[in-house]
Homo-oligomer: 346 residues x 4
């Protein structure tokens, strides 16, 4: 049984483990003050062409989201998210637990546009009886696999600046977004156009770790306290520093994401060739084909994946996720199983 | 320059890295549902002779503390800690950030006794104008290197039970406590006498990870939600499961702690032999000798350690910490440097 | 300019002020332990036929909501509300500020039915990645002036009991609900069918004050702490005790609400007679007629009220609120102004 | 039985009730936008010679403290208080419930001096492992009846400014402080030397209400949101506006406090004349004489007061509180009872 369930089923890219081994017995300073974290940050700043960026490594996405959001908002301020946004849908009220409302907006393809934000601001005008929208949270790639174009990001950034809104981008799958075939956003655009964003390691080759980047360093001035307070300051910060160093030293990070995208595209293409459609246009490493239920059942005997959404009596959408570790032979096997089944007239 | 500054300066015990490598490309379920986490928990339950214990792996101590405490207390309830307790002194208000007062008690040797708790309850009697003390937080070993005897733990446990107080033990250095020469507490006593406690991995051979154990499973009924909410549910939970499996499969955990204690004892003995005294009786892997400042300055040229407390014009207490990774040759070198210096009549 | 803007534009019913005067210089115990609070609670218990009910007086609705909700929910638990519910729409994130998500449900006429709750529970099934729905918050009368029938309340109560959900009713305008012409719910039904509810004083004749009632006394066991913690324990609790005593000694509370409803009904009837329709069926003291904009403009020169919702180029809905203090001559004047204007062929 | 237990045993000064009656049926805007609140604020600004001061009326002290503190601190920031401070000792963890640590300092006579603050800052230097001290909370008069001199306030203010610390003064008994015989602080000094402070109404003649004053208006920019969020925005804000208008229109506030102080001074003088000493020098309306237990028992048959502290086998300190409403005949009766008893050789 091979899994296309998620992009965190395997461990880390072997070169990361190798580097952990090599450096294992060196004595290093704790709490992210080790030389590997320092070097990884320097490389990241260089790659995003932003020498003043402030960077912290944090073990997971929910923790990164809640630290960033709670350390920048005042008690009466709220964050706007697409309804599908991870903070709105999948984090067990993590943001509310820090005291802030998440204003969830129904949004096409999981993306927020200036008009969505404007609607929220219109709806939240009756000061002081409503919260003050103060931050916009987006994901790139989104939870439905779509990505922002540069023009969209520019527009959103300009709108947020004009309305004193902090723009924060969740990049749990940023690698997959930035290496998508249709992408025109660069890492430095993320740093330039957002106030803060993060680069997800966990879903792209690391054991754990997300790199939280403040393009506006003044926003980061005291976030080190928040990291400690929320339990995110790992004693052995080297574990994350070494991983990001390996991932970004030679663009391994992007190579891994490209592989994941290529595997997804290969499967998507084969599925399209059979005439099936998708919930959203396949773009990154998450694809949502709409398949006959009988075919789904057949494929399920060999491959593990989530049934995402009932479409009608005969069809359902499934979610297939590939990763840096996806074995191309298994992607081929999936395609082969589908083709055989459909060719047999079923 | 060799460090005796902390017990998290190195990576992980090599057999842990080896196991991470071996299992790296296996596809495993996420969020702690992998077979390694499952197996590690089974072994831990067996070792603590407590088949019903509920166990979660969490990346660090602060996070473990804040999850346990905030998920068990109601809004008006407070936790009692020694003033030196980690939650009172070193976690940037992590517990208060979840809404709860930490009642800090001056306590001999970092330990709480029933009389300390009784004093707090007497002082917090004017309901409803004061918080309700509801939990007792202890550390074993304590932040000053001391340990609880079985009799002390039994007394504390009985007192807490009689007063409807939850007893929670921070075991960031539990291995060092349970393997101390003077210790008479077993792992199963911890499970039996507390309501919850944790077994620290980070400071005893793991890259990261603490095992939170609920001896009273009914207290753990919904703590999985809190783990996710506070960002503690690592996608690749296998990373911690594998580590605890390696640490407890063959008692490696205790062997490593024993080594750390032996190194500290060796250094303590040599220091005593020179006639120096200690802030508290050397017991585990943290020792606090009171040394002449000139000697401290001399040793500082070769070894890194913290100056803990000014004693008088001529003397200061320093903190020396050993670990599973401490090189015995370096402990010997420290002793040699001290002896040479003092033998030269300084 | 006469106001139909809200039901808190005047002070208190004169007999309340009279009683405050009479008792003014008596020395009374503080913090709600005065004899008037005690007597008011006894009368309320009798009127709701529930000798075990636990009752607290709190200065306002938002505070009552946040105390009740935050003191009963655990960190990962959430409250379900209609989208129009006060906690969802008008309290500046008060509930989120205590750490809990408000799950807002689009709901007909501002009311929740079992099917609405079931939908939420279905949507929040992916434990532990989502909050746990644990409480249902309803308002009676609702924010749109509608009320629950006894059958609806019975059904909701049974559903909540069957699903371990706490049922809490906001009764800021409970008087208006229970005296509505179409109402079949009694005060004792509120106590019997909810776990907790409150009886609003501020909007029905008091200077300030809501009576929070726990029909299930075990839920109230430690809520006194929460009252103090949230700043709701007024030193001169007598101020609220005296008011509720006056309001309930001889059913003044219901008389006042009946007057408000009668004024609204009179206006509604006249508006209907002119052929205008309503956003929702006029039931209590808030009515939402849909009027020609020219008429609205005309009426606005003499009367103050809110324009609630744009309907089309020619029509808008307005909100008219009456109260215990509404002067019938002014209601008549409003009707007269409308009639004159429309009779003049406009 | 006459009470010297607290200063909130009676209702309000009669002229306040009179004004509530007179204005009762006027229609006024809600939420503090009424003309009485507006006028009261104008008068207060004039009396404190500070035209830019921003003022809000809030129903009680705990609520005022928690709103001010939580709306100005970031997640990792803490407030420093004397151990006897109300937020540290008597508010059921209200500040911690908003997420912030209260750093409690043992302090002579309930007062904080710059050296106390400096000590805290020295102790909280290990960033980011400790909270950041960011606010200083003082009370004037203090919880033990003492007051700050102008020189002390000037020094504290300068120290706070120099260290970027917000200075906030709890004035639940500010009237008693500013009218004490030994006082040299004026209302305008409070506005000039603190960043925010409040003027307590509840304990000096009002039914309820504290006036929160921001001497630094920029700190108040969005506090209206916080007021609503914490449930402090009373629908009938007029109730507090009218009271403060009456209290400050003609300095009634200070006359009332002067009476309370005079009653306390009269009793203190008589007690001193009998040779008894005090826990702290009698200054305002709270005095703490140390009396023989037999005398205490005798007085308790006629007068109610708190026994504050056991001194030895024969003596205890009691707390006597006078107020604007204290009947001078009753103060005389107390003195008489004491004198008779002691004159009888007991």
């Amino acid at each position: 049984m091979y899994h296309f369930r998620n992009d965190y089923a395997e461990g880390a890219h072997p070169s990361i483990l190798q580097k952990l081994l090599e450096t294992n017995l060196e004595q290093q300073a704790g709490y992210g003050e080790d030389i590997y974290s320092t070097e990884a940050k320097a490389i990241l700043r260089q790659k995003m062409n932003h020498p003043e960026a402030v960077i912290y490594f944090i073990s997971g996405g929910t923790q990164t989201n809640l630290i960033l959001i709670s350390s920048l908002l005042r008690v009466h301020e709220a964050v706007i998210s697409a309804q599908t946004g991870h903070i709105a849908a999948n984090e067990t009220g993590a943001i509310e637990a820090t005291g802030h409302k998440v204003i969830a907006v129904p949004a096409t393809d999981g993306k927020l546009q200036p008009a969505d934000i404007q609607s929220v601001m219109d709806a939240y005008a009756l000061r002081p009886h409503v919260v003050k929208p103060r931050m916009v949270y987006i994901s790139n790639a989104t939870e439905t696999g779509t990505i922002y174009s540069l023009a969209e990001l520019e527009a959103l950034s300009a709108f947020c600046k004009a309305h004193q809104l902090i723009l924060f981008a969740d990049g749990a799958r940023l690698g997959h977004a930035l290496t998508a075939a249709s992408n025109d956003v660069r890492l430095e655009d993320m740093a330039r156009l957002t106030d803060a964003f993060y680069i997800g390691g966990t879903k792209n080759g690391a054991l754990l770790g997300e790199a939280l980047v403040f393009g506006k360093p003044e926003l980061a001035d005291e976030v080190d306290y928040a990291l400690k307070q929320k339990g995110a300051l790992l004693a052995k910060g080297r574990v994350m520093g070494i991983q990001f160093l390996e991932l970004f030293r030679d663009d391994l990070y992007f190579d891994l994401a490209r592989h994941a995208n290529r595997m997804a595209a290969k499967m998507a293409q084969a599925i399209k060739a059979k005439g099936f459609s998708f919930l959203s246009e396949p773009t990154t490493n998450q694809i949502f084909p709409i398949l006959p239920k009988a075919l789904i059942e057949h494929l399920s005997t060999q491959f593990a994946f989530y049934i995402w959404k009932e479409i009608d009596a005969d069809y359902a959408a499934v979610r297939l996720i590939t990763s840096w570790a996806t074995d191309e032979q298994m992607a081929d096997a999936f395609i082969e199983a589908m083709n055989q089944y459909t060719n047999n007239g079923k």
